[in-house]
């Protein structure tokens, strides 16, 4: 088991490298939004590399099909969670550190995307009366 198998080990090492840089980026990037770049992109390719290496190690249809499914769901779910985290943070008012423009805010639509009418009312004072809360306060 000590021999170096290039086809198997290089993808695993590359994957491990990308996961490591994801961890470093997660610590070093300045704010939540930038950190999402590190976590969503690097983790995806990192795990892809590790999966490919493991698949080549087993080299069986059963293992490969399962790994392909895992990888597919990884590609489907990682961006979704990044999207939701970014959106939730932004709508909750976590200020991004920006050097460029914030066109979302500039277009004035951040509040409209918020699907929680109660909080909107709190923010805008008594201006909005036509938004009755769907559930009564328990």
């Amino acid at each position: 088991m000590n021999d170096f198998n290039a086809a198997r080990d290089i993808p695993i090492l590359l994957g491990a490298f990308f996961v490591l840089t994801a961890a470093i980026g997660l610590v070093r990037f300045p704010d939540l939004y930038s950190r999402l770049h590190a976590s969503s992109k690097l983790i995806t390719l990192g795990s892809a590399g590790i999966f490919i290496g493991v698949g080549l190690e087993f080299a069986q249809t059963e293992a490969l099909s399962r790994l392909a499914a895992v990888l597919l769901f990884q590609f489907l779910t990682t961006p979704l969670s990044a999207y939701l985290i970014a959106q939730a943070a932004y709508l909750r008012g976590l200020e991004p550190l920006l050097e460029g423009p914030d066109e979302w805010n500039a277009l004035g639509k951040a509040a409209l995307l918020d699907r929680r009418p109660e909080e909107l009312k709190e923010e805008e004072g008594e201006g909005q009366m036509e938004q009755p809360s769907p559930q009564g306060k328990g």
Binding site: T21, G25, S65, E103
Partner: protein
Amino acid sequence: MRGISLNILLAIVWTLFVGEFSLRELVIGMLLGFAILSVFPLSLGTGGYVRRTLAAVRFALFFARELTAANVQVALWALRPHPPLHPMIIAYPLRLSGDNAQTVLAATITLMPGSVAMGFNPERNVLYAHVIGARSPRAARESLEKVENALLPLYGQSASQTDPVETSA
């Protein structure tokens, strides 16, 4: 729908011919079936299916290349002493229409160079993305446009639709 069902049917027929039902034979059957469908697109009425599948393959290759590029870039930023991040939030007017297509676009740009999708305005058909590493909002929008251009043929849409924001701005 007709195309994919015919393709699966042909794959099953192939496994019957081979006499061995396995994932491998099924995949071979899918490929052979696809070859048949693309040779006779008119008589079988599967031209659209063939075109879309080819667009999907082309998109998968584009995706793999861009994903690798994005990762190398972000990895370098993570390791450099002073990474040249220029974080900004840009509004991107979508030309793609349809829930599925837009969801795929949002997911794809999150995995691609320097952008994370973070919001969507259905009224104005605008996707908001957090972008790092782009020099200007225009450059960032151009890189998103590249992704959208690769996705458009996949959904059988053309790039000729007008952008609501672009025309009003």
